[in-house]
Amino acid sequence: MTKIFNFQNIFLLFVLLLACFIFTFSLSNIPNGVYVDEATIGYNAYSIMTTSRDEFGKQFPIAFRFFGAYTPPLFVYVAVIFIKLLGLNIFSLRIISVIASFLGIFIVYIFVKSLDIYNSKYTKYISTILYITCPWVIFNARLGYEVTLGYVIFSLGCLLIWNKLKTHQISTIGYLLLSISTYIAHTQRYLAPIFILFTAILYRKQLFVVKNKKHLYILLILLFLTQIPNLYLVTTNAFWVKNTNFSILDFISQLLVYFSPSTLFGQSPDINLQHTIPSMSLFYFWLIIPFFIGIYRLFNSQKNDSSKYILLMFLLAPIPGALSGHFISVQRVLTLIIPIILIISLGFDNLYTKFKSVYIHMILAISISFSLILFWRSYYVFFPYQRAIWWSYGYQQLSKVIQDNPNNKYIIDNTRNSSGYIDLLFYLKYPAIEFQKQFTHDFIYKYYDNPPYNANYSFANISLRPIYWQTDIYENQILVGDDLAISEGQIQEHFLIKIFDIKDPTGKTIFAGYQTNPVKKMKDSKNK
């Protein structure tokens, strides 16, 4: 009994309970919309579950086409299980990232325990607290798409590899996890081979020894077998969609930006507002002090294998993001989270040798409490208010209107958002077998070659396309769009009658529905 109720277990239980609250509180409502990446994963998982094909009708794809991204497939297949158990809703998707982030707590804890550069007995506990309260971790723990699972499985692989590496052994499971992570997210698809290559070079003396020969051969065969689907994809356009504009200058400048303290502890340079929280950095700004101390410690003990391993994880993590050649995207470098937490923990570890632990605990408790108040302000107050539109807010309400009026015909303007159809499919739980009928056999045949397709869809009582003002006003239907799609002048000219108005939390109209008046319009046209 005493062994179960020791300080370590009680503390971990406390951390898990706190994490449970932070990661799951109001999970379905904040973020207060279903982002297209979530909706597309949810609907494709639902489609696989009900028809064994994706939304386009491709049977068990090895990369999901989605909007041309060809996303690695594993998250969708995992989502099938959760949708089967919990139904097609946003909770079923976001809970996967929550579970992955829970796993992340143990990864951080065991990492600190197993790396021999930490001296204080408190560091492993501090590291878990830093992990669960980190804004970047919390934000990604509450997302319903693949990025979080990707970085956690990758980090788990790194942990298992390290645990064997320090005793000059090869972790088959660790390397297999890295291989599997390439089927979760784009980042890991590029990072895993780079990481394997660099560990092989840096730790060649530990890995390539006679006693490991048999393990090495088995590992190579297993890696080859698990990579067969990717090797097939390499021969298609589907594999190369994320890095079309590579240039060495872009690569260097992006690497510098990802490592910049300003990016990590100050204002994020990511221009996609869906990726960040208002007035909140990726890590709390005050953590820059232990971060620099940690960096100092790492470079002062760089010959130590543990230091080398943290540095390796830290330095390689942003490479796929920088290779993608697009704008800065903090979601492509999530694998930085765990090495940075390890570095910050190392900074605290150093402080324990200089100051009394009670002072550090007091300062830490005050700083984290203060930071959590600021996090509450940014994430629970500002975020739903300012970022609703970035999270496809309004589609749930629109789906409700459509569902409640099955006899009405709706034309939804998709001029500025061609991906909105997926949110409607998600909320309406539209039968996948019906939706797949729109795609030809030729399209399915050329699935991995990124064939062009028409983004205008018709399903149920909905058509998603631009509004054709010459013809649409002469039919009895409801035109749906925002203030730019349907102007005040057009409302007057075509005798449109407003029947619903969906606003975002700031009061801006997202969707307004207008009933056409063909009789009056025709009469007016004749008179003219």
């Binding site: 260097i252 510098l256 303290p261 100050g266 600021l374 107050v381 208010y385 300012q386």
Partner: protein, 183 residues
């Protein structure tokens, strides 16, 4: 050979510098080479600080545009009624726009990406990293102290003066030139 390489990098790194920065960079350079007494860099630093102050509008830290005031008001309005009083305390006492301005100054000062696009040739980032590692391994106390003081002062003064973060550039120049060539 080491001295020659060090001097070439030094000249390369200060190529864009105006006269006063070059002079102070040279003073630190000579000090690090044990050629002059430590009081000369301190006096030079004070002169540089005066120059930084005189070329920076410190008042801009306390000025907020109409849009910034609008955003501040919008943030206040986004609190639910039950938390409005708490929100008022947070927005007007704790997370004020002024604190964000200082925070922004601090991170702009540490934004080394900016230095290697605006003040130094990008390729010098490599000797900068090498120099930083070597500085960490064998730190010079006065150099580190003045470097830290520069970061703190620029946080409150603002690094966006007429000539940029003048207080910091000589140190970067010397990390690139002197420390990167240290054994």
């Amino acid at each position: 050979m080491k001295k020659l390489l060090s001097t070439i990098i030094f000249l390369l790194s200060i190529i864009h510098f105006p006269l006063y920065l070059t002079t102070f960079s040279l003073i630190i350079f000579l000090y690090l080479n044990n050629k002059i007494d430590k009081y000369i860099p301190i006096i030079g630093y004070i002169l540089l600080f005066i120059f930084q102050i005189s070329t920076t509008r410190i008042a801009t830290n306390f000025e907020f545009s109409g849009y910034q005031n609008f955003v501040h008001q919008q943030q206040l309005d986004s609190y639910p009624p039950a938390f409005y009083r708490v929100g008022n305390v947070i927005e007007n006492k704790i997370a004020t726009p002024l604190i964000y301005r200082f925070q922004q100054n601090f991170f702009n000062t540490l934004d080394f990406v900016k230095y290697f696009t605006n003040y130094f040739i990008t390729i010098l980032f490599i000797p900068f990293i090498i120099g930083t590692i070597k500085l960490v391994k064998s730190p010079n106390k006065l150099f580190i102290k003045l470097l830290f003081i520069s970061v703190i002062l620029l946080t409150f003064i603002s690094p966006d003066g007429k000539f940029g973060p003048v207080l910091l550039l000589p140190f970067i120049a010397n990390i690139i030139s002197f420390y990167s060539c240290e054994k």
